[in-house]
């Protein structure tokens, strides 16, 4: 028992270290890419090609003066950054990076990630509330409403995935997507050669994939859904009053969340680590980088959506489409197994 706990903690530490070490480079990649898209250089002075820029930023933030605003709820003000960062990092322990590279294969893997996402809201809400600043407060209210609304749609998208793969276990969801593309048509199993059995290639999962991506953007508060920190209206939203390392923790959490959503997208819809020739880990990271790239691309090209439009999109578009997708899938299952067996 004690040995098991030790190995569990060791795996956890290894995964966290890898995530922590990758984030500075993801941030640099985004800044360089945004520079490219906006026809400017981006940070390229610190180290070769700007590679050390993020580390220089961390050093700068470490030496900043810590300011706690007057009238702030001190305990919660100090707690909030940790409440954002810890759930964001804890999600990585259930991601299957390769056939034997999953720290824990929980029986409730998908729900575990949903649960941590729903706890992540508290950090943002409390950061805004405890700062005793109206901009931060408005940002907090926006983010809580936004995250509750989009959680439902994302949940429905995950239900679709679970219905198609028949498991809540992330390891099994990936295994279900092995081999060539298969589907049931007119009472028999049709196999399509050369195409992988990824959910992203099955038409019945397309609405779910779209909802998951849009919802993922909204849950991570990334452009074009970055209303909680809309700088044109709210200065910097919920983290307006934060300085130094506490601000850095919000920043880290945002990128950790981007990595989580990317890893989840790959795991649920793009066959996880499955792929020909290259080793599984390389395939996983390759697919994951493409989704991370999508996040950056969206930030560079899409304007911020208006707040009422955001709520309208969540409740009147994504949610009904998600429900319809679940119903359609249920009918497909009846066609597949026949009425007699139910």
């Amino acid at each position: 028992m004690a040995e098991e706990v030790f190995w569990g903690i060791l795996k956890f530490v290894i995964v966290l270290t890898c995530v922590f070490l990758s984030i500075p480079f993801v941030i640099l990649a985004e800044r360089r890419f945004l520079g490219f898209m906006q026809d400017r250089y981006g940070p390229n002075r610190v180290g070769p090609g700007g590679l050390l820029q993020s580390f220089a930023d961390v050093v700068k933030l470490l030496f900043k003066e810590e300011i706690i605003p007057a009238g702030a709820d001190k305990a919660l003000y100090l707690l909030a950054p940790a409440l954002v960062l810890v759930p964001a990092l804890c999600t990585f322990v259930v991601i299957p990076f390769g056939p034997n590279a999953q720290p824990v294969d929980l029986g409730i893997g998908v729900l575990y990630i949903l649960g941590l996402a729903s706890l992540g809201v508290y950090g943002i809400v409390l950061a805004g509330w405890s700062s005793n600043s109206k901009y931060a407060f408005l940002g907090a209210l926006r983010s809580s409403a936004q995250m509750i609304s989009y959680e439902l749609a994302v949940g429905l998208a995950i239900v679709v995935v679970v219905m198609m793969t028949g498991s809540l276990r992330l390891g099994e969801i990936v295994n279900e997507q092995a081999g060539p593309l298969r589907f049931w048509w007119a009472g028999q199993l049709v196999e399509v050669p050369f195409l992988p059995n990824w959910l992203a290639l099955k038409p019945l999962a397309w609405p779910a994939l779209l909802i998951f991506l849009v919802g993922g953007f909204a849950e991570t508060n990334r452009a074009p859904f970055d209303l909680p920190e809309a700088e044109t209206e709210l200065v910097a939203g919920y983290h307006t009053e934060y300085t130094g390392m506490k601000f850095a923790m919000f920043f880290l959490a945002e990128y950790a969340n981007v990595l989580t959503v990317s890893a989840m997208t790959v795991t649920l819809f793009f066959g996880g680590w499955h792929g020909p020739l290259l080793p599984p880990l390389v395939w996983f990271l390759l697919k994951m980088s493409l989704v991370v790239f999508l996040f950056m691309w969206a930030r560079a090209t899409l304007p911020r959506i208006r707040y009422d439009r955001l709520m309208q999109l969540g409740w009147t578009a994504l949610l009904p489409v998600g429900l319809a997708n679940v119903v359609a899938l249920a009918f497909y299952h009846i066609l597949k197994v026949g009425y007699g067996t139910i």
């Binding site: 028992m1 729900l111 706890l119 809400v125 409390l126 509330w129 209210l141 809580s144 995250m147």
Partner: protein, 167 residues
């Protein structure tokens, strides 16, 4: 003490302290957060009993969704304790202490009668698919009734909140 026992005591004490904090905190936002903490600790206890599905649903539904809504409303109204006015229920304090003492005595006797012990083996190990099977076959009627009651409550709230046109 084994790892399971340590975690159990941390979670159990945490749950009780969270509940006490919720009741005694002067700030409504702090109260809501203490309740979240308490619910989270209860989820950990479920986890120790092997009911991982129940635990995660507890976190998603209670600690996640419902309490965020509570917090949202508390913050939106910006409630302060002094805005509640004089506590008008002060005459009921002795009765509430008495009721609490009786309830405590009953629960303690029940616990002693059963003989509380710490089991290292998870006792409630039910995978999600078996739970779903039971819910949609044996317990279908109560399940549907519960969802109907929730639906009625929801419609009731909408009807009560809706103002008549031009009113």
């Amino acid at each position: 003490m084994s790892v399971g026992q340590v975690v159990f005591w941390l979670a159990a004490v945490g749950a009780v302290l969270g509940a006490i904090g919720m009741l005694s905190s002067p700030n409504p936002v702090h109260s809501a957060l203490f309740l979240v903490f308490s619910l989270f600790c209860v989820a950990v206890v479920y986890l120790l009993m092997g009911a991982e599905f129940l635990a995660i649903i507890q976190v998603i539904v209670y600690a996640g969704a419902i309490m965020v809504l509570f917090l949202f409303v508390i913050m939106l109204l910006n409630l302060k304790r002094d805005e509640f006015g004089q506590d008008r229920l002060f005459r009921q304090y002795p009765v509430s202490y008495l009721a609490t003492a009786v309830l405590g005595a009953v629960l303690t006797t029940a616990g002693l009668a059963v003989g509380l012990r710490f089991s290292e083996e998870p006792t409630l190990l039910v995978p999600a698919d078996r739970l779903a099977n039971l819910l949609f076959t044996k317990y279908l009627l109560p399940f549907e009734l519960a969802s109907l009651i929730l639906l009625i409550a929801m419609i009731g709230v909408v009807v009560m909140v809706k103002r008549p046109r031009g009113g």
